[in-house]
């Protein structure tokens, strides 16, 4: 029983990492119909930014977080300008490849600039965590879970209760119509990228103390986050969260009770099954094409 509880906690913790990154995916997808293969690298950039600011320069943790978020926001705008905007009228395929190119550029750019050594980043709390009975609660995982829950609630309020949020939703649902209503679509999309990059950077900051900071750290999360968002229902924000958490739990239990080396396979096996039985995912809706 104790083991199952520990696995559950860790599974949720890992899952919340996937959820955070998946959220970034979904937002960009809803606004632009594009899957951003560089989403994981946003997390990597956020983590490296923290390393440079807090470790190399030795600045205070909170300052590092603030500056990293600002940097990631700026980066999101840059990414939009350089990678998405020039291709916005094309089909989704060139854009996907462009994001793949961006991913390669980011990973190798950071590699060239910083070097290949993995770095460590201290967690938010000095203490590693605490035990209750047989279960150890890692403080960083708890932080991630808390931030995810809080962040999603905040995001819900923003999208549903503010005018800006509704405008963003409009753009993501029907660009043409939104534009006819006077909503500056290009600006809204830029905002979406900014927000998504910031989210990705935040995920990186939270994840770095656990996974350590390396050039490859984003890529491994991103793929699973993508799978998670499809399981949850592609294009649905709740789906991204639920899918991420579910994936983390399935993976962890699968590793413990079935096979550790095939752990990465479980995620995709589940995805496969979902795509066969219920392709719209847990929360998604089938959208019929109008003739």
């Amino acid at each position: 029983m104790g083991i199952a509880l520990q696995l559950l906690f860790t599974g949720l913790g890992v899952g919340s990492i996937y959820a955070l990154v998946a959220l970034g995916f979904v937002l960009i997808y809803r606004a632009t119909n594009v899957v951003n293969f560089a989403q994981g690298d946003f997390a990597m950039l956020g983590a490296f930014s923290m390393v440079v600011l807090c470790i190399d320069l030795g600045w205070p943790y909170w300052l590092g977080i603030v500056l990293t978020i600002i940097t990631m926001a700026l980066f999101g705008a840059l990414f939009n300008l350089g990678v998405y905007y020039p291709l916005r009228h094309r089909t989704f395929l060139p854009v996907i490849i462009s994001t793949i190119g961006a991913s390669i550029l980011l990973e190798n750019g950071v590699l060239a600039a910083y070097g290949p050594r993995p770095q460590s980043l201290p967690g938010v709390f000095a203490s590693q965590g605490f035990s209750i009975g047989p279960v150890f609660f890692d403080s960083q995982y708890l932080t991630i879970l808390a931030v995810t829950v809080f962040g999603v609630a905040l995001q819900y309020l923003f999208f549903e209760r503010t005018l800006l949020g509704k405008k963003l939703q409009a753009v993501s649902q029907d660009k043409e119509m939104a534009s006819l209503l006077g909503i500056p679509v290009a600006f809204m999309i830029a905002l979406t990228f900014v927000y998504s990059a910031t989210l990705g950077g935040l995920a990186g900051i939270l994840v770095a103390p656990i996974l350590f900071v390396s050039v490859q750290m984003g890529a491994s999360i991103a793929l699973k986050a993508f799978a998670a968002s499809i399981i949850g229902g592609f294009g649905d924000v709740t789906g991204a969260i639920v899918g991420g958490l579910a994936l983390g739990v399935i993976e962890t239990f699968g590793a413990a009770y079935i096979s550790v080396p095939y752990k990465d396979g479980f995620a995709f096996l589940v995805l496969f099954v979902f795509l066969l039985i219920r392709p719209q995912g847990i929360f998604g809706e089938r959208v019929a094409e109008k003739a």
Partner: protein
């Protein structure tokens, strides 16, 4: 495309001009295949450092056959086809008599057919025992292979620590799987029991299931073959969080600088087998001091093996008084009791130069040399 033309023009120009300047002090080129890009880029840099350091030392004391050594490096991109292309590119230069190859066994395997065809000596650092059993006479290994690391782990754990119930945690790549196989065999020979064999895929983000499995197995001691330091770090931390305090004897990754930095206190008190440790011999100390003065950082296994490889190679060419492949080969194999940074080199007929490992201990963050175990069979 302009770069290509520029390069061609430059090459043409230099090939015209070179004969005009050729003298007896013509540099002797040694080819080197190293990862400059890809996941192995970090180790590639250290490998080059070690080789360059050796070249400097050799050239200071007169060079090889009166000529200064020059290193020609090609990037293998940390992939198999990359290694093959890098090697064949170097091999296309007929003036290169010998090469320093890869530390990754799969890359050496990939290059092997071309090495056989080229028929020139290649110094390698890959530790798959199979590499010296391929019947390829041109591979010379400058690190003790994994059958030795496994035997030393087993020997130390069973005979010194007196622990007989083992858990083996290993990465599922070539290094980890072979290490596991060899360790299982070695433990069996010593009458110990393996209560858990747990593989994991590289770059796992979470090791809770592995840590729990170790905890549940009731093992007294853990032998590990882990390839990447982040995995090492996450695993160590989670193991300790779950309250597992058993002894740990690990592969060389367990004590690299990066591993220590990432895992911190979670690795205190663990043991590891390493082929390179600065305190293991006077030669190692000398190399470490030299490396630190030159590069202002601590050396590790990546630089020590290439340093030894270049040094032994230069000696062999000088002894053979020739750059003919067969002559170099005989001279390398005839190397006896040569004190290198990695250890004392005695080449056997298969091309293995080292037959033992060092045991070190993580003493609250400092790596302390414990002993050297050598096999004379």
């Amino acid at each position: 495309m302009r770069f290509r033309t520029l390069a061609l023009v430059f090459a043409a120009a230099s090939s015209v001009l070179t004969p005009l300047t050729s003298t007896a002090a013509d540099p002797l080129k040694i080819g080197m295949v190293a990862p400059l890009t890809g996941p192995g880029a970090e180790s590639g840099r250290f490998q080059m450092n070690g080789a360059k350091l050796a070249v400097e030392q050799i050239n200071k004391s007169g060079g090889v056959l009166g000529r200064p050594l020059e290193l020609v490096v090609e990037d293998d991109q940390t992939t198999n086809p990359g290694a093959v292309l890098a090697f064949s590119r170097l091999a296309g230069d007929a003036s290169i008599p010998a090469f320093v190859g890869s530390i990754r066994s799969t890359q050496v395997h990939a290059m092997a057919p071309d090495i056989l065809k080229t028929g020139k000596p290649v110094m390698i650092g890959g530790t798959d025992p199979q590499l010296t059993k391929l019947g390829n006479p041109w591979l010379f290994r400058f690190r003790p292979n994994d059958s030795y690391s496994a035997r030393v782990i087993a020997d130390f754990g069973v005979n010194v620590l007196k622990l007989k119930k083992w858990a083996i945690v290993h990465s599922t790549d070539a290094f980890g799987t072979n290490g596991m196989k060899n360790l299982t065999e070695a433990l069996q020979k010593l009458g110990a029991t393996t209560v858990l064999t747990q593989g994991y895929t590289n770059n796992s983000q979470d090791f809770t299931p592995v840590a729990l499995a170790v905890k549940q197995s009731g093992a007294e001691v853990m032998g590990t073959y882990m390839t990447f330091e982040p995995d090492q770090g996450i695993f160590a931390k989670q193991l300790r969080q779950l309250g597992v305090t058993i002894s740990w004897v690990g592969s060389p990754t367990t004590v690299t600088t990066t591993a220590l930095k990432l895992a911190g206190p979670a690795l205190y008190g663990s043991y590891a087998v390493v082929d390179f440790n600065r305190d293991s011999s006077p030669a190692a100390k000398a190399f470490a001091a030299l490396y630190e003065t030159t590069y202002k950082s601590t050396p590790d296994v990546f630089s020590s093996w290439t340093y030894d490889a270049m040094t032994v190679l230069a000696r062999a060419i000088n002894t053979a008084k020739s750059v003919e492949p067969e002559a170099i080969r005989k001279a390398i194999l005839a190397t006896r009791d040569f004190a290198g940074a990695e250890g004392t080199f005695n080449f056997d007929q298969n091309g293995d130069g080292l037959h033992g490992y060092n045991i070190v201990r993580n003493d609250n963050g400092t790596i302390v040399f414990d002993k050297h175990v050598e096999f004379r069979d």
